[in-house]
Amino acid sequence: MITILDAAYVVAILGGSILAAKAIAPYIAKIYTHGPSRLDRFLDPVENGVYRLIGVDVHRGMGWKEYFLSGLLVNLVQMAIAFVILTFQGELPLNPQGFSGVRWDLALNTVISIGTNTNLQHYNGETTLSYLSQMSAIQFLQFTSAATGICMGVAMIRCLLAGSKDLGNFYVDFVRSLTRLLIPFCLVAAVVLVALGVPQSLNGYQTISTVTGASQMILIGPIASLVSIMQLGTNGGGYFGANSAYPFQNPSPVSDVFEICLMLLLPTALIFVFGEMLGPEKKREYRPILVAAYSLFAIDLAIGFIPTTTLGPGMETRFGGFFSAFWTVVTTAVTTGSVNASLYAMHPFVILAAFMGMLIQATPGGKGVGLMYMIMFIIITVFVVGLMSGRTPEYLGMKITARDVKLVMVAFLIHPLVILVPTLVAFASGAAAQIGVSMNASGFTQVLYEFTSAASNNGSDFFGASANTPFWNISTAIVIFVGRYAPIAILLAMGGSMIGRKRSPEVGLKTDSLLFSGVLVASILILVVLTFFPFLAVGPILQYLHGQANFLG
């Protein structure tokens, strides 16, 4: 178990992140409600210029289909551009290391992975990608995918607001997410990271002489800017294959804590934004989301912290067992997927905790999308238990229809489908054995983790560059794509039907109560975590029972 000091760290870090999120929420809400801001003077001309350039009618609202398809289209175009850059990086500038073009299946996997905010990386950045690829293809997609996720979440919120006429305009939301949220926040974060010792340079390999007099070649690059968006945008795709376990991405315990806070900031802030946008009367409705997200997160942490005293042989010693486990749980809870220590080194319980975060996807989940998932869980829970209050189930005063339930169930079903079926295929086709996965509990855990991470758009994995084969590149790309867009589309379809729906002024089941939050947590544990219990049992749980403290071998 953890020490009191460790527990104090956890409380301080989580508490600090939640308070910071709460503090910036009114500002973020204003971005999407178009409230007056002091930044208008500088940003309005820029944004209006962009709107004119892409021919957007700022005042035209969109229905759910148009909003979703606009987002999808923008993402697809960006992925296509990134695909071209990666494929032809050998012939393009800013390639001091002289890397050749990326093979098509890896390029496909990479653009889909990064473009969907997943950042499952089947490559080592430092030995595969040029500066141009890192900055334009990777970093650019990290910004746009984060912006897309936030837009979808905000659109979902608008669906739930009384008096909404449409979901808003995707292009406007998208541009404002970048200009008013991601770019300024990343700028600040990058400066802090540089101050904490993260390099930001375009000078390629540096030859330095060590204290012993020998000379050593080390790679630096535009790392601070990438790290800031990778953490803040819950992307998780690192500059280096070793991600934030590598000192240049995460030089010290202070940067470690700072990066954890960065990861938590936006997903948590969006929960408060939900409350802000609901208005004074319904503001308290953000509470069950916050309480459930952080309660489940606390359960994850508790499971992950059970074994921190037993460090595996591969455990990152710079941050120690506690911070390594903490990071792993956080990065899966917010679907970032960056790592500060190798997963192979983790105790099965930490992996179990990581699984829980990725299976639930809403603790608090990726920014925007995590909120959508939590709303999905709320609708299911309200429907299943709401009847017990003696009224037909309502959320925010709206009656839940059979169609809502149908859509929510389909969205809910996608997750097990795109995790379990490919896992089975990977073993049955021999693709798992091909990359050296053993046919035992550890091997099963690794494959299950790969697809769970892909489906939940997390991005952390065991395999890394070793899974750079056509099967793994293509299968995970499909899983990532479906796991990202299908639930968003379905949930927006449900949300779209809620626009203009009758809202009863009477409150039946109080969804803002602590009691409901508790029931919500229980129902998520039963419906989500227990569904996967048989698989977790033959994976990490069996590993633990077999006494394999870690995954080496």
């Binding site: 017990m388 037909t392 069996l542």
Partner: protein, 713 residues
């Protein structure tokens, strides 16, 4: 008669049981299970396990244990699980049939004497009027009611058609004459042929619905079914993947165990009981003598936000009672009381009777009493809005001994008697009573009298002016009496978070005071029946669900738009047709019960759903440890229940099956609840059925496991 009925019931009961059993078995056919996806899959799994028992080798490598006995046991439990489900259906339908037939008996029907010719003799068969068809021949004896329009075939008789035509003199009817349904035979006997088919009554149509085997699913049932299908799909993916993994990784799992886990995880409890819960909800409504047009109406009742209550008949007994005589202008209470006594002597309304009774009880017996026998009575008329008497000559009465006797059987006792000597005769006296503004023409009011009248109104009473020979003596204070138990019902309604709104034709002040007395915060005074429509619409415009009652034709539009419209059976046909429920007992306060029943129905459905899903926790822990027992004995450490390696699966399956019949009483009776606010109900039900649903199977499965290991050591 009563004993005869009971005797007739005995064979009926065993027949009913036989029918329930037969229905439950007949429904095991996969074709009739299609509408219940969860049970359909359980039956499908039954066939798979049967196939495994027949030829285990065909399922290799998923038949690793090849334990045919075990397969047979699993198959048997699966079949019993499905049977429990069809049994609950059949039971609920039996219950519905019973309540429906008891309702039908309630409908006032004429039992006619239908003549049936058998061989060369004619037999009389008692037949309800609704069962008669055109061309049937009936015999009509003296005193019989003509069941339906008919034509005389033989015999001549006198008939009283006054109920139908209003003509009081009996009419002579001979062969060829037409008899009107509803008239009575006054003398002699005749035989007649029915000339029309009885139109199916509206109530009959409603009752038929509950008996129909194919009942359309209500919106809420549909949504619950969607959840069940969704969960089924998820568990299908899970179990199919497990089976696949077992093959691919060579985990040596047995398909029968996986099927057991599958069936245990499926929401079989709610899947089995869902139809029964809906039907029983309807039966409970019928048992309270309320018929509903659809199950949807009952669900809507549970959602009611606002209930519109007519003051008269719902909140108050409908008749105002005199409680005090208030004098004005220097007159005494005695003068007012005596004048009121005189003015009300011939007033047989409840109000009038209460006036006389009050005066008598207070000893305010007028000396002009004798003159009443030869007085002129002014009946109440809509133009003058007053009533009274003009006393002319002498006469004498004997008064009964108590006020109660005065007001006997709804009529004032006016026995004449000559023995009372001390009552003196008097000259002409005119006494009038009426609403204060109605008597103004006869007796001008003063500032003082207006003040008194208003203060009576303010205190919730209704002032009735008493005028003697053109002088305003004072007022009778009339007061509404609340229906017994209505206060408690209003409290219950408010506790449940429902707003009661009182609709009344009274003056605002009177309305306010009654509303306050009964505990209602909102009221619509001076409302005409047609105003209800506006109230319903304005509440609905604010997205509220409105429940209301109505009886008159005026109420029909409002009943039609209200979410829950309860019509009185005593009301007009248009009102009944517009409503979605009809109370056969015509008790307006029943709308509150209907709302409670709606809530109970929803709660029961929710409770069983939550219970069913919460059960899964224990079942995982029972079966997962033994799932891959051969390949991974280490998983046995997850066996926190300490179940037997070989009995765990059977124990979980048996629990899963047995819980269905155990919950049938709950499904048919509905969850019990005391009126409370939504969150209290939610908390209570969540603890009992949610938390209880997590704990119960841990206890149950362990208990069954211990029992099995005792039988099979």
């Amino acid at each position: 008669m009563a004993s005869g009925e009971r005797q007739a019931d005995e064979p009926g009961r065993s027949q009913a049981w036989a029918r329930v059993l037969w229905d439950s078995v007949a429904r095991l056919s996969p074709l009739s299970l299609v509408s219940n996806p969860v049970m359909f899959i359980v039956e499908l799994m039954f066939f798979v396990v049967v196939a495994m028992a027949v030829d285990p080798a065909a399922f290799s490598p998923l038949s690793s244990t090849a334990d045919v006995t075990f397969y047979v046991e699993v198959a048997a439990i699966l079949l019993v699980t499905v049977w429990f489900s069809t049994l609950s259906d059949a039971l609920a339908e039996q219950q519905a049939r019973n309540t429906a037939s008891s309702l039908r008996r309630l409908e006032s029907e004429v039992l006619s004497k239908k003549l049936v010719r058998e061989d060369w003799t004619e037999k009389v068969v008692p037949t309800p009027s609704s069962a008669l068809r055109r061309g049937d021949v009936v015999r009509l004896d003296k005193g019989d009611l003509v069941p339906i329009d008919a034509e005389v075939l033989e015999g001549i008789a006198m008939l009283d058609e006054s109920l139908v035509t209003g003509e009081s003199a009996p009419v002579r009817k001979a062969p060829g004459d037409v008899l009107i349904g509803g008239s009575t035979v006054v003398s002699d006997t005749m035989v007649a042929r029915v000339t029309v088919d009885p139109e199916e009554s509206y109530i009959n149509k409603m009752i038929k619905m509950v008996e129909a085997a194919k009942r359309p699913k209500t919106p809420n049932e549909q949504a619950v079914t969607v959840v069940l299908i969704g969960l089924t799909a998820i568990f299908t993916i899970v179990i199919a993947s497990l089976a696949g993994l077992s093959v691919v990784l060579g985990l040596g799992g047995d398909l029968s165990v996986m099927i057991a886990l599958y069936v245990c995880l499926l929401p079989t409890t709610i899947g089995a009981l869902l139809p029964a819960i809906g039907l029983s909800g309807m039966s409970r409504l019928y048992r309270r003598k309320v018929v509903a047009k659809s199950g949807k109406a009952i669900e809507a009742a549970g959602d009611a936000d606002v209930i519109l209550l007519d003051k008269t008949g719902t909140i108050t007994v409908g008749n105002r009672q005199a409680v005090e005589f208030v004098p004005v202008g220097g007159h005494t209470a005695r003068e007012v009381g005596e004048a009121a006594f005189l003015s009300s002597w011939y007033d047989d309304t409840a109000e009038g009777r209460s006036v006389v009774r009050l005066a008598y009880e207070k000893g305010l017996i007028p000396k002009e009493l004798n003159s009443l026998s030869k007085s002129k009575v002014y009946e109440f008329s809509a133009t003058t809005r007053t009533s009274g008497v003009l006393l002319a000559s002498t006469g004498s009465f004997a008064l009964p001994k108590s006020g109660k006797e005065m007001d006997k059987g709804g009529r004032i006792s006016r026995k004449h008697a000559d023995s009372v000597a001390d009552l003196v005769p008097s000259g002409d006296v005119e006494v009038i009573k009426g609403a204060p503004d109605a008597v103004k023409a006869i007796a001008p009011s003063t500032e003082e009298s207006d003040g008194v009248a208003e203060s009576i109104s303010l205190e919730g009473g209704t002032p009735m002016a008493v005028v003697r020979d053109g002088r305003l003596l004072g007022f009778i204070r009339l007061k509404d009496t609340l229906k017994p138990g209505i206060k408690e019902k209003i409290v219950a309604v408010k506790t449940m978070g429902i707003r009661p709104v009182m609709i009344t034709g009274d003056q605002p002040l009177t309305a306010k005071s009654i509303a306050k007395e009964v505990g209602i915060d909102e009221y619509v005074p001076q409302a005409k029946p047609a105003d209800k429509y506006g109230v319903v619409q304005s509440e609905q415009a604010q997205s509220r669900i409105v429940a209301m009652i109505g009886d008159g034709t005026n109420d029909a539009p409002a009943l039609a738009v209200a979410d829950i419209g309860l019509a009185m059976n005593s009301g007009t046909e248009p009102a009944k047709e517009a409503a979605n429920m009809v109370d056969l007992e015509s008790n307006p306060a029943k709308v509150i019960e209907v709302v409670m029943l709606g809530k109970q129905l929803l709660m029961t459905r929710g409770a069983v759903t939550a219970f069913s899903i919460a059960n899964d926790v224990a079942k995982y822990f029972a079966i997962v440890p033994v799932l891959f027992a051969s390949a991974y004995p280490a998983l046995e450490r997850l066996n926190i229940l300490g179940l037997g390696l070989h009995t765990a699966v059977l124990s979980a399956l048996i629990f899963n099956a047995v819980i269905i019949p155990l919950l049938i009483p709950l499904a048919m009776r509905g969850v019990s609840f005391k009126p409370a606010d939504t969150m209290t109900l939610f908390l209570r039900n969540t603890l009992i059925y949610g938390a209880g649903g997590v704990v119960a199977p841990f206890v149950g499965i362990k208990a069954i496991d211990v029992l099995i290991s005792l039988v099979h050591p």
